[in-house]
């Protein structure tokens, strides 16, 4: 089993540089991410899709963050896809959740890949074990993945240099929160279990949590 470490995603140290740059006003960089146009404030996906050249214009910092997000989206999409195939998604309301979430995560994967172009990280190999076969394990795992995904996007948002990419990240962040509350309620858990405030996780914390699942095997 391979740990996906921060080093693997942070090829040129851009993530750690980016984190330090936050202390200064790194926003000056966003003016250079040109080709903005009035992309029409419909939704983050449209924003990502409508920006020609944003892949080449995105900073190394933002590319690393997008690839981190893409890794999580690959994971979620494949988890839901397998669960539907192998029965962990179950029937009725639970299956409906899995189908809808799968569609959303796939849309996130496609949007992120489109922005990243050649710089998109390749999909890892996953092994979800019984969690895509067993209905109870499916629910528990979905809750963990969605809750973690929310906190992952939350942690990355302030580190993103491009305002367009930030807008898209915020759009996805709140969708993951929609998912998290949804599957929690299906499992008779508290949808707003964090109370009035939900705190971020750092990239390192998320990668540790993901490594602990053992789902990424190659």
């Amino acid at each position: 089993m391979t740990d996906l470490t921060i080093e693997e995603l942070d090829v040129d140290g851009a993530i750690r540089e980016g984190a330090e740059a936050v202390q200064k006003d790194s926003r000056a960089g966003f003016m250079a991410t040109a080709a903005v146009g009035a992309a029409g404030l419909v939704g983050g996906g449209a924003l990502l899709a409508a920006l020609p050249g944003v892949a080449s214009a995105a900073s190394a910092n933002d590319v690393a963050i997008l690839n981190f997000a893409l890794t999580l989206e690959y994971l979620e999409r494949d988890f839901y896809n397998e669960a539907v195939r192998y029965g962990g998604a179950g029937k009725g309301a639970q299956r409906h959740f899995a189908l809808v979430a799968r569609g959303h995560e796939n849309a996130h994967v496609q949007a992120l890949k489109k922005v990243l172009g050649r710089k998109a990280i390749k999909q890892p190999k996953f092994n979800f074990r019984q969690n895509t076969h067993n209905e109870t394990d499916f629910r528990k795992t979905a809750i963990t993945l969605e809750d973690t995904g929310v906190k992952a996007y939350k942690g990355q948002a302030p580190l993103i240099q491009s305002t367009q990419i930030l807008a898209a990240a915020l759009a996805i962040h709140s969708v993951e929160a929609d998912h998290a509350a949804w599957i929690r309620r299906i499992d008779h858990q508290d949808p707003t279990y964090t109370g009035a405030f939900e705190l971020p996780l750092t990239r390192s914390q998320v990668l540790t949590a993901v490594a602990n699942t053992g789902f990424i095997v190659g």
């Binding site: 419909v42 962040h173 709140s174 949804w182 949808p191 009035a196």
Partner: protein, 186 residues
């Protein structure tokens, strides 16, 4: 425009243009403008849930969400007020609200809750790229809670809890227009 004093209404014209997304540099002035408006939405939410608990004769899960969300919105009010002060601003006093039928029955309560929560999420998502990093960090701690609340209520209503692949966002002008259209602000 909202009547609440000191909300810096003039600065809001910066936020109405879609292309302003890329062109606007964060500033304390923009932060305060946005925070004062966010405060209005939190006052709205807190008062809405308080009124619903008084008038809608809620029970079961509907009562649970009203109770929980009321607590959350009160905490959000305090948080936004504190943030405004930390930037050297003065939080405006709460507007007066009137919810009419929206707080008088279970169904109306749930539907209005979904509407208000969605409006908050979409407004905060629109504001995120415009504010300074510390304010963004704070706002992002609230917005996922609002989204969870919206999802929960939609679930109770039998609607899809996650209607979008990417949640839409509103400019300040769009949000204010939507707020005005509710008729809740006296």
């Amino acid at each position: 425009m909202l009547a609440a004093g000191g909300a810096g209404a003039a600065g809001l014209t910066l936020l109405t243009d879609a292309s302003a997304f890329a062109a606007t540099k964060p500033s304390v002035k923009t932060d305060l403008t946005i925070l004062q408006y966010a405060l209005t939405l939190e006052y709205l939410g807190a008062t809405f849930y308080s009124d619903a608990l008084k008038y809608a004769k809620l029970s079961g899960e509907a009562k649970e969400v009203a109770t929980r969300f009321h607590e959350h919105e009160l905490a959000h009010v305090a948080f936004v007020q504190k943030t405004i002060r930390s930037l050297g601003g003065k939080p405006h006093a709460s507007e007066q609200f009137s919810f009419g039928a929206a707080t008088k029955s279970r169904q109306a309560f749930l539907e209005t809750s979904a509407t208000i929560e969605e409006m908050c999420v979409e407004t905060l998502n629109g504001a995120g790229p415009l504010v300074s990093k510390p304010v963004l960090i704070g706002a992002s701690e609230l917005v996922s809670v609002e989204a969870r609340q919206a999802s929960w209520v939609r679930g109770i209503l039998g609607r899809t809890p996650a209607p979008f692949k990417f949640n839409p966002f509103l400019t300040a002008a769009q949000s204010q227009k939507r707020l005005k259209a509710t008729g809740f602000v006296k």
